[in-house]
């Protein structure tokens, strides 16, 4: 099953080198994979996953192990950031 993984700011280093400048890559994951599974598989430090969105919708830390990803969904993750 294919999803899109987007990693921004300092998390881009966890993407394949060729994908880092666009901050996104297509990813093959097992059916039933959760947000937490992908974070673990990609060796992204969970403590650095401050903003986690699936198709733009916030996934809170306690929900990440239960949120099953569907074909074609976009998982986007940022470290602690802010602006204004």
């Amino acid at each position: 099953m294919k999803i899109t993984l987007k990693l921004f700011a300092s998390l881009a280093v966890h993407l394949p080198r060729a994908a880092r400048s666009r901050h996104r890559t297509d990813l093959e994951v097992e059916p039933g994979a959760t947000v937490a599974d992908v974070i673990l598989q990609q060796r992204i430090p969970p403590g650095q996953c401050a903003i986690v969105l699936v198709d733009g919708v916030w996934v809170a830390p306690p929900e990440r192990a239960a949120r099953v990803l569907a074909e074609g969904e976009v998982l986007a993750i940022w470290p602690p950031v802010a602006g204004g």
Partner: protein, 616 residues
């Protein structure tokens, strides 16, 4: 005492500078900076005064923590009646100017009247004089600062000045200090220009002008505060590395990035103009747009962006004055100059931002006005003949050209200098101005983020993100996560944010500390700096008092409930894409509850009980 207790009153008509004692009772009631200067302004001017009348006043003001070892303690504000909105205007700036004014021994400088000829104010510690500025009139901010420092042979003088935009009364002209830090919004620079006041130059060397009330406690409290900032992921790592610009992709993914005059909520070019893009090497010259980060006085966050353009870019190819490193785009500027117009050229955005700094005008209102003009052009209402060139959405060349014309006050730039409300009204479509109280929205869609919509509608200085930053709970989960489309709890959270922000803006510190600090971190610093009891409860009461005082000024100026509104586009045209697809603002659901929580009547007027409780 953390206040210097000295106010400098400058009568520009008579050419006099006089000293008077700070009203210490007002300092106890309004703390400093935004709150204290608002109290002075409200007490001294007619709310209905023409902002450009000599009877309007212009106040430069510091806070009790300005010029101290408190982290980010370098802020100052400029308070006046604003020409863009006709409402209270308070613009806050960092850099080093504010601390220098405090070092010279002044809590605030009140300018009254208008000078018959161009002048600048020179402050050297306790000495102040008005100096002829005929030779500076017509110069840019960058030229003015250099000339003053060179003539006085003192590179350590700090200068806050207006460029040609302020002289030409561009309604959103800024006051710029330290070359690229600005009291940017609401047109405070145009009021300065109307008074023929070109600059304020300050040298402060006094060490006896003020001191914290309890030095040991102050040292401990400020050290504790710095540790909190350093340990926090946002203020310790995220902001220093990526600046506010890191929000570009966040807000776009969330479907809350206003695009092409708010017609859309996602921008296909967002990545090209993002904080991440500023870190990437350009294909043209192999260098990055971002050179380094930068900090204001006493700041341990250092979110500022210092950029260098590609010297081969069409906008600066033959202009070596723009080839050096200078203030780069922050998130709001990048959005306004980019997504708001459909422009995705980071170098062009940087150039336009340089122009905003160089000649002193607000990139948010300017960029949003470009977006409105482009929509009018695409509708056929505004023609190539009137503008002088083609003006479709996404035209980098047109955006750059408009920035140059606005800076110089030439051609169609004169119309651009009026802002989008007057532009759209002039061409028969006031509904296309994306404004509240005639001030343009910043970079978050008020449909996609319901709390931000309410924040815009109720803001005392018109649409603005810095008086109740509901993006924190609605996007970042700070201090708690709230769903963007939810309305429940938003009025109460907004009121708490507005009151707390008024405290921060009155203390002399930067609002960005609040990504890490709560009131429990700020209170001990104020308590140790200032005489008296400054409990958290009292501070929030001070914040609420300030908010209501600003409200009272606006009501007396003629604003009513109908001005607490959003453009029809946000109320009736649903978001078309992304996770907020279908959303419109539910302002009608939230506003009555907000009024009730504020202790206001259903018409938005503070009740007699509220006035009595707050002492307003």
């Amino acid at each position: 005492m953390a206040w210097t207790k000295n106010v400098l009153r400058v009568n520009l008509e008579a050419g006099t500078c006089t000293t008077e004692p700070l009203n210490l009772q007002w300092a106890q009631d309004y703390l400093g900076q935004r709150g204290l200067a608002t109290k002075y302004l409200v007490s001294e001017i007619d709310p209905k005064v023409d902002p450009f009348s000599p009877k309007n006043k212009l106040i430069f003001v510091t806070g009790p923590l300005t010029g101290t070892m408190a982290a980010t303690g370098g802020r100052y504000s400029v308070v006046t009646k604003g020409p863009l909105t006709g409402a209270i205007a308070c613009s806050n700036s960092g850099g080093y100017f504010g601390a220098e004014l405090k070092f010279a021994g002044w809590d605030m400088v009140i300018f009254e009247g208008a000078s018959p000829k161009p002048v600048y104010l020179l402050i050297n510690d306790g000495q102040a004089e008005l100096v002829d500025a005929s030779h500076l009139w017509g110069k840019t901010v960058w030229e003015t600062e250099e000339i003053i420092k060179t003539q006085l042979q003192d590179p350590q003088i700090r200068v806050a000045s207006i460029g040609r935009a302020g002289e030409n009364r561009v309604l959103y002209a800024a006051i710029v200090n330290d070359l690229h830090r600005a009291a940017g919004r609401s047109g405070v620079g145009a009021v300065m220009g109307s008074k023929s006041l070109k600059a304020v130059a300050v040298r402060g060397t006094r060490t006896d002008a003020y001191a914290p009330a309890n030095p040991e406690a102050f040292f401990a409290a400020t050290e504790a505060g710095k540790k909190v900032l350093a340990a926090n992921g946002v203020t310790g790592q995220g902001l220093p590395t990526y600046g506010t610009q890191v929000l570009m992709n966040v807000i776009n993914e969330l479907g809350a990035l206003p695009t092409r005059n708010h017609r859309e909520v996602q921008f296909e070019g967002a990545h090209d103009i993002s904080g991440e893009a500023m870190h990437e090497k350009r294909p043209t010259d192999g260098k990055t747009n971002l050179v380094t980060n930068g900090a204001c006085f006493g700041c341990t966050i250092a979110c500022g962006r210092i950029s260098r353009m590609d010297p081969g870019h069409f906008s600066v190819k033959d202009k070596p004055q723009y080839h050096g490193a200078s203030g780069g785009v922050e998130y709001e500027a990048a959005w306004a100059l980019g997504a708001a117009n459909g422009v995705n050229d980071l170098e062009a955005l940087t150039y336009a931002n340089f122009l905003c700094n160089e000649d002193g005008f607000d990139p948010i209102t300017f960029g949003a006005t470009v977006g409105a003009a482009m929509e009018l052009y695409e509708m056929g209402v505004l023609t190539e003949q009137e503008v002088g060139f083609k003006l479709p959405f996404g035209s980098t060349e047109a955006m750059v050209k408009l920035a140059e014309l606005t800076a110089r006050g030439e051609g169609f730039g004169k119309v651009m200098g009026l802002g989008s409300k007057r532009l759209c009204t002039k061409y028969g479509h006031p509904e296309l101005s994306m404004t509240v109280k005639s001030q343009e929205f910043p970079a978050y869609d008020g449909r996609a983020l319901q709390g931000m919509g309410l924040a815009y509608a109720t803001n005392n200085r018109g649409a603005c993100h810095l008086r109740g930053y509901m993006v924190s709970p609605e996007v970042l989960g700070i201090p708690v996560k709230m769903e963007p489309q939810a309305t429940e709890g938003k009025p109460a959270m907004l009121k708490a944010f507005q009151d707390l922000t008024a405290v921060v803006d009155s203390a002399g510190i930067c609002l960005f500390t609040t990504f890490a600090w709560g009131l429990q971190d700020i209170q001990p610093q104020i308590q140790a700096a200032c005489e008296g009891d400054w409990s958290e409860e009292r501070l929030l009461l001070v914040g609420e008092r300030i908010w209501n005082l600003e409200r009272e000024f606006n009501l007396a100026a003629g604003f009513t409930k109908k001005d607490d509104n959003l453009p029809p586009r946000l109320l009736k045209e649903p978001a078309q894409t992304g996770p907020q697809k279908g959303a419109v603002s539910k302002l009608d659901v939230m506003l009555p509850e907000y009024y009730q929580l504020r202790g206001w009547t259903p018409e938005g007027v503070p009740t007699a009980e509220t006035r009595k409780r707050l002492g307003v």
